[in-house]
């Protein structure tokens, strides 16, 4: 993947409409993410946060009705899911998928090498990869034993979320969309997950955090907070907005919106 010019927008979504199973869920979303920025997206259940994440990652189950998405100078909607991944777009799933019969280490090694090769880098051999992987596992406090287990199979909720962060660190993308990676974590796990995101954060990387809770944002202060309700971003602000939401709830936003 060729490098971006400085100051270039990483992701730009313009008036995106998307549906699933014939039902329109996203009803006109616009959002711009620059390198180095952390955006938080908050919003009530069912408002379309995961739909947005899945559309960005290229899930064919979701249909884009209209709008435009540019990612690092390219038309994202023209790219297949694997091309997006190889171009540095990463989605941390709200519900990570179990893949029985495929070991975590096989999965991660082949994923990384597919991405490396498409970037013109030499693939890591088994030894190099193992070293590299164990260091990343230590960073997210994951037991080494989980490398031999099947991907997410029988993992606890917390282990699955850690595994998503592990993949983030192993694959080292440019834009990370983390869909409720903080949900269902105990406080220690939350800290390691936040630590992982903090490690990833840099002036070159962009982050979109989908979350319901201020507690993650305490660790990772966002540059922007957006409130998504019924498929639209109805309010955007800085990190103070998240605090306000926490104390007043979403009805307050809805009232504001209707009040104009």
């Amino acid at each position: 993947m060729k490098g971006m010019n400085k100051g270039e927008t990483m992701l730009e979504i313009k008036d995106l409409h998307a549906s699933v199973e014939g039902k329109e869920i996203l009803k006109g979303i616009s959002l711009k993410v620059n390198p180095g920025e952390v955006h938080a997206i908050m919003g009530p259940n069912g408002s379309g946060k995961s739909t947005l994440s899945q559309v960005l990652a290229g899930n064919p189950a979701y249909e884009v009705l209209s709008g435009e998405i540019r990612y690092r100078g390219e038309d994202l909607l023209e790219m297949e899911a694997f091309e997006r991944a190889r171009a540095g777009l990463f989605l941390g799933f709200q519900y990570p998928v179990e893949i029985p019969g495929v070991t975590n280490i096989y999965f991660l090694k082949n994923a990384l090498n597919a991405i490396r090769e498409s970037n013109g880098e030499a693939p890591l051999d088994a030894y190099e990869f193992n070293e590299y992987l164990l260091r990343r596992m230590d960073e997210v406090g994951m037991s080494h034993e989980l490398t031999r287990r099947a991907v997410n199979s029988g993992f606890s909720g917390g282990e699955k979320k850690r595994n998503e962060i592990l993949q983030l660190l192993v694959l080292n993308p440019r834009l990370a969309i983390l869909d409720e990676t903080d949900s269902g974590l105990d406080i220690d796990a939350l800290k390691t997950v936040a630590g992982g995101v903090e490690k990833f954060r840099s002036s070159e990387n962009g982050v979109i955090l989908v979350t319901h809770y201020q507690r993650l944002l305490d660790f990772i202060p966002p540059d922007f907070v957006h409130v998504l309700i019924d498929g639209k971003i109805v309010l955007s602000g800085d990190s103070k907005l998240a605090l306000e939401l926490e104390s007043k709830g979403y009805n307050w936003v809805k009232e504001e919106e209707y009040a104009g």
């Binding site: 899930n59 997006r84 998928v97 019969g101 495929v102 082949n110 597919a114």
Partner: protein, 402 residues
């Protein structure tokens, strides 16, 4: 061949007439039209057509002990017997032919018995497990339609252990029909890992009848790879005769084109505290067909039986058809039995998840198919051959769409 086999053949011939040829009106053969076999004229393979040792699996020779059977006749010289005599006897227990199978029988069992020209009785003594024993069954020089009736009886003495591999092959270009019967009698605390490879060509029919009789504490683990043949049938009859036996059967069928596979696995829980587990998997496309039937019968005295039957199918297109029929017959009241059957496409969620990590759709599909198929070789030992089988499965999955 000992003289009393002549009596044995007569008895089976008598039974053959009684049992009658199965057809699709018979419940267990409902989805399996065998008129291609029963309608055609198959010659019995004749000794004179036996020429040379088959070429396949040469690579394996260094990792296993091998005895070829060609056209139903074991190539077992006195010299070869002597070489293998530290673990095996070949001249004992000849009178026990039929010990595991006679009780159940079936048309094709009796056809085998009544047509025998030779057979192998292998007695395995207790001792170090040694290399896997590889018994390929080959049909040679088949210009016309040829049927063979390979027959094997394996007797594991108490505490004996064996890794056994069987395969089917043919050369010559005619239509062949392997009508194979294998009996295994397992003494107390004996163990066997039994792998059957059926990779025959499109013009071969393979019927593989297995009769397993287990005594106290014995453990049977059968694995079956079916990636060839036209009409093929696997029949397992596993009788758990005494306490604390374990039986497992894993199978993997790759169904496409002209292949039609029929699998029928019956486990008879005749004694308490036994466990059985069967897992039948199939991947099918391009008009491939198959029927998988599982049947566990728990006798009245077989308390604390634990029987599990699993069927899993992945259909890769709309033209393939796989039927799955789990059945239980339970006469004891304190038992744990379950069965489940799933059929479907590759999981779109799993495909998508892999793609978001940089796998192309094709790679993702291959990863999932291989994962599905690899269940067959989970925990497979057999040394170097185990690794070769793993590679084989991987290649088979890669070539599935070709």
């Amino acid at each position: 061949m000992p003289v009393d086999v002549i009596d044995y053949k007569k008895t089976r011939a008598g039974r053959l007439e009684q049992s009658g040829l199965p057809d699709t009106k018979t419940e267990r053969w409902r989805k399996f039209d065998i008129s291609a076999i029963t309608g055609g004229l198959f010659q019995e393979a004749h000794i004179s057509t036996l020429t040379k040792r088959p070429q396949d699996y040469r690579l394996w020779d260094q990792f296993c002990d091998r005895i070829d059977t060609v056209n139903g006749i074991p190539l077992l010289s006195e010299k070869r017997k002597a070489e293998l005599s530290d673990r095996f006897d070949f001249d004992r227990n000849l009178d026990r032919l039929g010990e595991a199978g006679d009780e159940r029988g079936s048309y094709f069992y009796d056809l085998n018995g009544s047509s025998l020209i030779d057979y192998t009785v292998l007695t395995v003594r207790k001792g170090p497990k040694g290399k896997p024993l590889y018994l390929p069954q080959h049909i040679e020089g088949a210009e016309n339609s040829i049927r063979t009736n390979p027959r094997l009886l394996v007797i594991l003495e108490p505490g004996a252990e064996l890794e056994l591999i069987q395969s089917f092959s043919s050369s010559g270009g005619g239509i062949v029909f392997h009508n194979s019967v294998t009996e295994i009698v397992m003494g107390a605390d004996s163990r066997i890992d039994h792998l059957v490879l059926q990779e025959e060509g499109d013009s071969a029919h393979v019927f593989n009848h297995l009769y397993i009789k287990q005594l106290t504490g014995s453990r049977y683990h059968g694995r079956n790879l079916i990636s060839g043949g036209n009409l093929s049938r696997n029949e397992y009859h596993i009788a758990l005769k005494e306490e604390n036996c374990e039986a497992e059967v894993d199978s993997l069928y790759l169904g496409k084109g002209e292949r039609n596979h029929n699998s029928d696995i019956t486990v008879y829980h005749d004694a308490p505290h036994c466990t059985s587990r069967t897992e039948s998997r199939a991947v099918a496309l391009d008009k491939g067909q198959g029927t998988f039937r599982g049947y566990a019968r728990i006798a009245r005295d077989a308390q604390k039986s634990d029987a599990v039957q699993q069927f899993k199918t992945i259909l890769l297109d709309d033209t393939a058809e796989i039927n799955m029929e789990p059945q239980l017959e339970i006469w004891a009241d304190d038992v744990k039995c379950s069965h489940g059957a799933t059929a479907g496409r590759l999981d779109p969620q799993q495909l998508f998840y892999l793609q978001t990590r940089g796998f192309t759709e094709e790679q993702a599909r291959k990863v999932l198919l291989e994962a599905f198929a690899s269940r067959l070789v989970d925990g497979l030992g057999m040394g170097e051959i185990g690794s070769l089988i793993r590679e084989k499965i991987s290649l088979l999955m890669e070539g599935l769409y070709e």
